[in-house]
Symmetry: D2
Subunit: 319 residues, 4 copies
């Protein structure tokens, strides 16, 4: 193996740049050439590649987003798209790839591996919704961004004795809501993985108020419903002087936390080592603080499990 390609695919996440840096630097330390593939699979098919130097990744460890840009490209599901991509790999003499993104982007990586181009996947998403890894690159940063927002909202909530419903990202997963909810001292955390009864929540808010609590904060995972819908349901049970905030895309950006930078650096270096060892069609994870890898095919069947102990713990801490 002489040349490695790197791409970021799907939604961007803080720490992707740290991963790009780690892959590039580690590969160069073995004497490999490194090519950056822009805009994920779309760029691969279009031949939007460039040779990376050490300086190409200088100082990017501090930056959110991805210097390689990202794009969704469903066409790569078709063999036609894949063959176009392989043409480009041949043209640039690339032997193997690292794909940083959600598990959706692993399908393309598996196809390329099947065509003889080893590809290793790195879990890059704020949603933490990928099987066989305890944490994804970007999750820790997103959670801290949400917690900082909750801390700010608490200031004003306390000053006016209000109830705030804060909608956070996570797609179908409740991880961001669970971690940010516990860390933010939320009174209620609503996640897709657990049923909730709006009536009980309304009663809890009322009893907290009756007990003199200055503010009540509900953290709502977007996978459950939208904040406005939740507010409408809540209103059926009384007036809580409630406000809602949809944190939105701020959760996707920002300089990555130390945790995300270290996770991305370890995973990026490991990906290159695995490619060097001739491996492909695998995805890297961090399980029980150990670097691991699994067949991508296993991931497609596997299910991510959030840390629901946080859900139980919060019941006793918030009350």
């Amino acid at each position: 193996m002489k040349k490695i390609g790197i791409m970021t695919s799907g939604g961007d996440a803080p720490g992707m740049n740290a991963a790009i840096r780690a892959v590039a630097r580690r590969a160069m330390s073995y004497g490999f050439e490194v090519y950056g593939i822009k805009y994920g699979y779309a760029g691969l098919v279009a031949g939007d590649l460039f040779k990376m130097e050490r300086s190409s990744v200088g100082d990017i460890i501090t930056r959110g987003g991805t210097i390689l840009y990202s794009a969704r490209y469903p066409e790569f599901a078709n063999e036609e798209g894949q063959l176009k991509g392989i043409e480009q790999l041949k043209k640039f003499g690339i032997d193997a790839l690292v794909v940083i993104g959600g598990d959706g982007s692993y399908h393309g990586a598996l196809r390329l591996t099947e065509h003889g181009y080893n590809a290793v996947g790195l879990p890059g998403t704020i949603d933490n919704d990928i099987p066989y890894t305890d944490f994804t690159i970007g999750f820790d940063t997103a959670v801290n961004t949400v917690v900082e927002s909750i801390d700010k909202i608490r200031d004003t909530a306390a000053s006016h004795e209000r109830t705030f419903v804060i909608e956070v990202m996570g797609r179908g997963a409740g991880d961001i809501a669970l971690w940010a909810g516990v860390a933010g001292g939320a009174d209620e955390i609503i996640v897709p993985e657990r049923p909730f009864e709006i009536k009980r929540i309304a009663q809890n808010i009322q009893s907290l108020r009756a007990r003199g609590k200055k503010h009540t904060i509900v953290v709502l995972a977007e996978g459950v419903m939208h904040a406005q819908e939740f507010m409408d349901q809540l209103k059926q049970y009384g007036d809580f002087d409630a406000r809602s905030t949809v944190l939105g895309h701020v959760q996707r950006g920002g300089s990555p936390t130390a945790r995300d930078r270290v996770l991305a650096s370890k995973m990026g270096a490991y990906a290159v080592d695995l490619l060097k060892a001739g491996k492909g069609g695998i995805a890297i994870g961090m399980e029980k603080n150990q670097l691991t890898y699994h067949q991508m095919t296993d991931l497609f069947e596997g299910r991510h499990r959030p840390d629901l102990d946080l859900y139980e713990i919060n019941k006793t801490l918030a009350k």
Copy 2:
């Protein structure tokens, strides 16, 4: 004069606590007793007052919100409400007051002054929409919170080459949008004080994209319209892969910036000095970096003027 009361009224703002601290400490340095009035005029009428010690304001300079809480209390517009408030002032032996809040809260302060209880107003609001002051307490913090959000959104906007419409607070005023827009490097700033043509904006976004700009950011003042409404209008002129974010109440909270803490400290100390000098019915401002004061009656007629030079400058810097 022997006893001073302090209250915060209307929407809370970062730096109100720094102002409370300054008023209390300055007053105590003159040997005055200080009483905290909770929940603004509602608390005054209800007799929710407590004697403050030096330690009552210890370490609050770093905190957002207001330790005195705030509330809207339209009933204070009626003489009946005012007389109830004055009863409480008599009961606690309070001679004079400092009211920290928006100019709406100055009306009550003026009434109290007319009844013989000198009251001085401090401009505390993130909106910067008060006449006769260049800056209000809380504005600088809110602008920095917005700019940090824009910086985060830019990361993801650039990674996906998207257009973002960011709705910011400010009620009827464009100040937050103007400052945060320029500081955030926005491509377009939409404020109530200037007309805008949605078609021209759509064309500008398209030309910026055509020129290869990776992202376009529009900062929209809530006083113009809601982000969703703006998005709908924009869509009429093409698909911009646009997203909108309503920053919401995070803008009201957070630890105050150095600028807001210093502004609050100076104004708070000055308010006590003016009460000591027998003044009342006046509101404090910071104009051209100088502490000033004006009759509250003048404020009710005056109009706040945002710094529209920022609007003109941004046209040449964003393009």
Copy 3:
């Protein structure tokens, strides 16, 4: 068991308040009374205890430091001191304790357990130097504080093409230096657990400069030597236009990160559950993402091991 005491001992760390909150709220959820013991063992001996209510821990999850204050109190090593402490426990009717601090503070906890008062230890220190836990409460926050500082210093280092030697805390352990070094993109990381050759480092800096790198950053663990001493040694091998910064006590403070708040919440709740189950003389850890506990006696013999893979990885990423 009816009454639980909580204290923080030794150096303070961000997240101690989140742990205090978790212990108090969890205990109250079981119907236990909770007493806060101020100033660690010194306060215990002096009888500086107070009954905590739910509101005693309201909103403290966001704050650095410890609301119970901390103090070093070597006298507690003597039986005389211990008996005085036990007198106070009897007087207040306290059955069991949670001690949050470094492993030094576990000795006193073990003595109390031996005297029939079950005590559970929580690892609270920024240094991460406690055996049988992968992470201590406060470590993640300290690392992020250091990384933010490195990011700032990089700005000026790059502008002037300078070498910076940044001394970080950690006492005898290199954990903060390792994590912050990798996350901060340090060119060299110097830790007590690994030998270093000043000459090789000097040559590396020179070769990096020769290759056009704009800045070089050395992260130095305080356990190795002081920054000034390092600078003096470095100067022997040439002029690097080097500057040094000793980050100091900023590393001990600040609002805890989400990670530290969650870690503290989980450990705090678990400590109460273990006391409820009649356990004592044990210390809680988080190993491989699982809550664990070990006999304090084992901790006194055990040795903490930092993640030295980070040391190896950084060699290939920095170069």
Copy 4:
């Protein structure tokens, strides 16, 4: 005029990039070509110039440091150096310059003006020590960085009831100490512009402690003496369990605050307008919130005056 050069000189400051962006974009909006001069006067003499495009300044508004790098170059004081610089200006066809830096860097700018190449100076330094401007570019960011550090140190100071002496930058000026001291709630602020008596400070600390204050914080301007020297003097009057922290170069870096970005944007645009109007040998200021300019010769004689009202106010607020 057709071509403008831009350079940054002297110590770097946050917001210099925002100023570079403003100068470049404004100039391009008038149809001028813009050249970046690297490493200040050293780069000018060496001919280290490059043509800037709109994209050259894309997204730099958020970054600390200076993309043009900076360097000290005393040789430019000699006519020989100046003539070499002018050769380069001729070679690149540059008619006029903007120099961003401290007033030291204005001397070179004045020489170039005298040689027929109009140069306008922008005050870029964290020290705020330039005459005829209330604020310099970088000052607000530095002050906020210091205040965040004080807030963190207060956490640990309060937990251990300690005295902290925090040495801040500012060279000969006390501005950073004054603003950060008031905003940080310092108990004592020591600046070069005011005499201080170590004995009185020691007594004040003791009386604050006697009154039960949990921590005492002294902010010391580097222009007075070094923290260690201050500590030694303090120790003569008793044991205060004091610690010192030298904040160091973190104060020079970081993403600029909104205030610094807006100040830099306004000044940068104004500089181009003045060059367009044929002006040279002048320096721009922001006085009483108005853009102003003065002859550089006046600046060399003028003296900067810090806001010493802050010194007086703090006496009543801290006590």
